[in-house]
Symmetry: C2
Subunit: 756 residues, 2 copies
């Protein structure tokens, strides 16, 4: 194993001070001279034809600078899946029809927000209401309302995966079970509502500041929708107060701000309200999951047949990826001798679902893990043992996916069982208490190039200076997850520098190197991290050359950068300070500064991910026999994220995952009535607070991922998946109530309990 | 000659729209959350010992956030001439002594400017006044007040140049004359007063926005004075409202803003008032010039002995360069068979002189050209002919300087004479009217590395994209002279793109490529222009490779980028659009974007300049016989700036030069009384306005400078030099008054006239 200096330590996170004292600038903090303010008019109908829009009165309101509808702008459909244009189903402003309550119909820009708001009420839209569908069943049945004319049966995406002969395997199985699960929508509930500020310069070029996870994607799609060239648009990501997947698309206010800035010649800002966020924001896909699994009598998995309907809401958004991924996640943890998956993405007249942390995994894994627990009970095998018998291991090849590199799954199972005394507690139940288990495997970024980028997936530029400092430029986006800490930390390790020696500039599409696909799918640390290492290696070659020449070393000497020095490993006295080595290398190139570019694109890794992470989680709950209220007492986690680069950040991701999944399992849900969202504030939408958090104990098992930077892989998203099945299993252990449809609300517990 | 597409046309200047509509952001326009405001306490004495400073009351004033004196900051001397640390004679805040009225003693930072101003009045400084010197004579005589202890005779710099045996040449000359000239100080009179805004980030790194010509120099010297590392300081140049040489140093408010931002944890702004600018701002060196020249009887120059005392004021500032340059300019226009120069830089207790447009040339050239006119008269040779006989030509080697490349001087003389009908008008004088001539040669940037940079002198990064656009990044500073137009124009020509295809990012020391020494000495077009071409050539190699591969061309094909296409010159059908070629080249490097860096450092060009420009100017004046008032009726100019890249900009530079030199010749002067500046507003300081401008006619002679980018060389500064001698000569022609001391005020004319 490599010995690290900076890696593995809790270097101060880059932005904590600025965020703590209020100095960090978020998009809504930006104020430009002459800036105007925009608001969006949204549909009050779930499904309706637009007959006529009259903006006369709105335009006449003093202070109003412009009103646009789809008549005024290019009618260009957009969407993240550029590789398959058929999936791009959104216009910026509704054309002919609205498809959910909140669908954007018009935009107003005025001298202030209140005036813009008032102008919205003066726009008269004549609608003809159409029959609407609010669930999968309604959408897929014969004669259903057609939401998009191009998809008359309301199914916009099919995804099929298959290996082995599933039917034959079931026929030969000793034990087969078939279940249906329903999982629900939750919000990413980021603290910073979406916002954009756009400015148009002398030459018509646009600069957009926006709260996004994907500056490069926004750049490209904004250019497309404006009918401009990609590089005539510059996207800058200020500080972002969370995204959780829901900020990974071009959003309509991005377009409206840019279009109006260009049209009016003044900067324009749009900031969403919390109510708009809850009513219309991207959310986790509700799914209906049919799953059939087979085992031999000694508990070896034989087959899995998984059918999932995704409730996509009114538009595809990131639905195609969700459809792919939930099929992949169904396959990842265990050795399935045969597997069949059919995913179908269904339109309904609800706000569009999209990517939310975990993205396909929380849903798919809830099914997988619940079925494992049920099968264990019926087969009479300890749930840990059943998992250990079927667990994937290093070197396993997953058909349709790829070969698994590092894999600490089995070790996670043993470690979490030991820490939680799972076996003992399960065998000795206490009244009102239960213990349950859930596991996960997750990706470290995706391979499939749905955005059809022509660039490497991640890139980094490293500049080093004779004063002993370095500058790291990357388009990777810190949205709170900490890439502006971990990427320079990796560079510090590689170059033997301290964190304070490194300046980091991130996520400005005009300034940072092309390109980075954004912060999603737990891709940043592995991909941008590898790009940083690639650049650092090139820098080191030059520094090593300078030192070799300076000391007239034999060329076979191994050199290293460590503790601010560059020297021969075998002859540590033959060395220069980092700054001296840079100065010398610079002289060798007659003054030219040392600047190197690195990049990473996964290759030879199949179509899903370059690396797999794993983990197992045990939940202990207490259930109130009278109210059915579930209280999670403690979570035990063992996970395999490869090298732990920054322990505090890994711990933070774990805590955040538990908080998010606690809400998913027990309390968070959108209450809709006829397509209208009723839970529009944090009072109605029940997100767990810090006070609701259970005790937590965690173990990182020791693995090294060869494909990852310095051995690291995913540590941010996978952990949102095991929590809900583990809690559900613990509730079953305590009450006999087996949850098939999340969330586990008190009424369901009371109704379903068989003991307690 | 090369055929150009974009070069030579008046493409729209990059910033005109933003400047016209008020959208351009200058330093003082920057407002940051929580920003504080600073003011400087200045010395009321020209020379005094500081006995004690009491800041107690100032600190106690509500709203005051900090007060500093030299006690509170690192005592580090600074100055631009890093190569010779002895020349660095300034502290940020006065230590022990003040040396001129306005010398910075303390700085106050408060919640607003008024509070800071009020606090200044509460600082009690106890001074012991010392004898002061306000002129060269007083400073250099025995027993003079010692202004800097390290230079007891008040002469801080000597510069000697010599070739040939001057004494012998004079002895053998047929005609020798010896004169003494006095030239005075003028202000750069930029419209934007100096301003700085500093911010300190989480890690203690400083970002400074400042109105400067030299972001890189400010970065380095600010880091030094703060005791920080160069790259922990980032300097950004917003729009700059003129510099004219006076903004090419680290200034004290830059330091105070940065130091206080770091100390207080809040952004800090300093903006100077117009009064401060006039009282203390950098100004053109007053000089006393002794010049002896010899000729043969047929008008061939034999020798020149030039002695110049520069009145540097209280500190060296850019005085060392001025001392060097005025000796070089004394040597540049004509073939001096022998030459001797001794320059001495003298301290006085006045505001420091420094670089102002022309920088040594207006002073030295006033002497050279006036003496040529006087000699012509006495030798009975037409002043044009006398010049033609002695003029330098292409290929001449100037001892101590370098070989002259392109040279259109003789042609300029012929052309300007023809256009102005100089000979005819001179022979047929009209009462009250006069015609006169002056010439110049100027540098295209300097070679001598006084700043001791470790980087190339100029650099450029060019990124090209598959959408047919390019991004040019350069640290070259547009201060109004137009480098943000001309540099992309050069790139457009090289890559066959249009201006609107190019994004330009300039002058941010953290983002644009290291380094550029700044905008001074007419260096930018030649040096940064060459860096752009260097980068463009590397880009083209890749595009040419892609096209050669795509069409399977024989490798000897010549290719070119023109009109948005990349193709074989011999087979224009074998070509791709620029964007297609980029996309293909990018595929060849598996997605890596095409990014290339270019640079320029003059080599094999001696120690002065890579290229010489030339020009001749004729002035026609009318002198009022009763008031002595001189009105310039028309200026005729013929100049050689190599290829004219942007005609409008060249014309603009010419007009600006005439305006500036009109003031120098006739009206601008600082009135001082006991070291105190009395002319502190534009009402007292008589700068010519647009209404005072004479008619102007100009010719650019056709040359091509091999060392310049696309044949170009200096076009911005040289023209400030011939105007004053030409006007003086015309005044002599009209009145018989020969000016030995600028400016030519009515009283001097009335007193000195021999006719009219």
């Amino acid at each position: 194993m490599q010995e690290f200096v900076t890696i593995g330590t809790n270097v101060t996170r880059t932005h904590v001070r600025d965020k703590a004292i209020g100095a960090a600038i978020y998009t809504d903090d930006i104020r430009l001279p002459g800036m105007l303010h925009g608001r969006l008019l949204r549909s009050p109908y779930a499904h309706a034809r637009i007959l006529h829009i009259d903006t006369t009165k709105a335009k006449a309101l003093p202070g109003v600078k412009g009103v646009i509808t789809s008549e005024d702008i290019p009618r260009i459909k957009f969407g993240n899946w550029r590789l398959f244009p058929d999936t791009q189903d959104e216009y910026v402003l509704a054309v002919d029809k609205v498809r959910f309550i909140g669908d954007e119909v018009a935009a107003v820009v005025a001298i202030d927000r209140d005036t813009a708001e008032e102008a919205l009420s003066l726009i008269k839209v004549e609608y003809e209401e159409l029959p609407a569908s609010f669930d999968i069943d309604t959408s897929i049945r014969e004669g259903a309302p057609v939401i998009h004319e191009a998809f008359p049966n309301n199914i916009s995406i099919h995804r099929k995966v298959s290996h082995g002969d599933v039917e034959k395997a079931f026929a030969e199985s000793d034990y087969v079970r078939e279940d249906v699960f329903h999982v629900h929508a939750i919000s990413g509930a980021y603290l910073e509502p979406c916002a954009s500020v756009a400015q148009c310069d002398y030459s018509g070029k646009i600069t957009l500041w926006t709260s996004t996870q994907v500056p490069y994607i926004v750049q490209c799609l904004l250019a497309t929708t404006l009918g401009m060239r990609e590089n005539d648009v510059r996207v800058i990501k200020p500080h972002v107060g969370g995204g959780f997947g829901a900020k990974m698309e071009l959003r309509k206010w991005d377009f409206c701000a840019a279009f109006m800035a260009k049209k009016l010649g003044k900067p324009v800002k749009f900031t969403l309200s919390r109510e708009e966020e809850f009513e219309t924001g991207r959310r986790r896909h509700p799914m209906r999951i049919y799953s059939k699994i087979g085992f031999t009598k000694d508990g070896m998995l034989t087959a899995k047949d998984l059918q999932i309907y995704l409730d996509g809401g009114a538009y595809n958004a990131m639905g195609p990826t969700a459809t792919f991924l939930c099929g992949n996640y169904g396959l990842m943890l265990y050795r399935y001798k045969s597997y069949r998956f059919h995913g179908q993405h269904v339109y309904t007249n609800k706000p569009p679902a999209s990517a939310i942390r975990g993205f396909g995994s929380p849903q798919s894994t809830f099914c997988t893990e619940t079925q494992m627990n049920m099968a264990a009970e019926e087969l009479g095998i300890d749930p840990l043992d059943l998992r250990l018998r079927n667990a994937v291991h290093e070197g396993d090849v997953i058909p349709e996916l790829s070969k698994i590199g590092s894999c600490g799954f089995a070790e996670c199972l043993e470690k979490v069982a030991e820490a939680s005394q799972f076996r003992k507690k399960r065998k000795n139940p206490k009244k009102g208490r239960g213990i349950g288990i859930g596991c996960y495997s997750f990706i470290s970024g995706g391979v499939f190039n749905w955005f059809n980028t022509q660039y490497p997936f991640s890139a980094a530029e490293v500049r080093v200076f004779a004063d002993g400092t370095a500058h790291l430029l990357t388009m990777a986006s810190d949205i709170g997850q900490g890439s502006d800490t971990v990427l320079p930390q990796i560079l510090a390790e590689e170059l033997g520098l301290k964190m304070e020696d490194i300046r980091v500039t991130s996520a400005d599409t005009a300034m940072t190197p092309q390109a980075d696909l954004g912060s999603w799918g737990s891709r940043v640390t592995l991909m941008a991290g590898n790009a940083v290492i690639d650049a650092a290696k090139k820098i080191k070659e030059k520094l090593f050359g300078a030192v070799t020449a300076h000391f007239n070393l034999n060329v076979i000497h191994d050199l290293e950068c460590k503790n601010g020095k560059v020297y021969s490993k075998g002859r540590p006295d033959k060395g220069l300070t980092f700054g001296e080595a840079v100065a010398l290398a610079q002289k060798f190139q007659r003054g030219e500064p040392l600047v190197e570019r690195g990049s990473y694109t996964p290759r030879g890794k199949g179509l899903v991910t370059p690396a797999f992470s794993f983990g197992a989680q045990v939940a202990e709950v207490e259930v109130d026999k009278d109210t059915g209220l579930v209280e999670v007492k403690k979570m035990y986690t063992a996970h395999d994220c490869g090298t732990v680069l920054h322990p505090q950040s890994v711990e933070g991701q774990l805590e955040g995952s538990i908080q998010m999944s606690l809400g998913y399992a027990l309390s968070e849900q959108f209450v809709l009535e006829g397509g209208k969202t009723l839970s529009t504030t944090f009072l109605d939408y029940k997100m767990p607070s810090a006070m609701d958090m259970p005790e937590s104990e965690s173990i990182c098992v020791d693995t090294y991922e060869v494909e990852g930077p310095l051995g690291a892989k995913e540590a941010g998203e996978g952990l949102v998946s095991p929590t809900a099945p583990a809690i559900a299993d613990a509730v079953y252990d305590a009450t006999g109530y087996r949850c098939y449809d999340l969330p586990i609300t008190p009424d369901k517990v009371l109704k379903g309990k068989t003991k307690l």
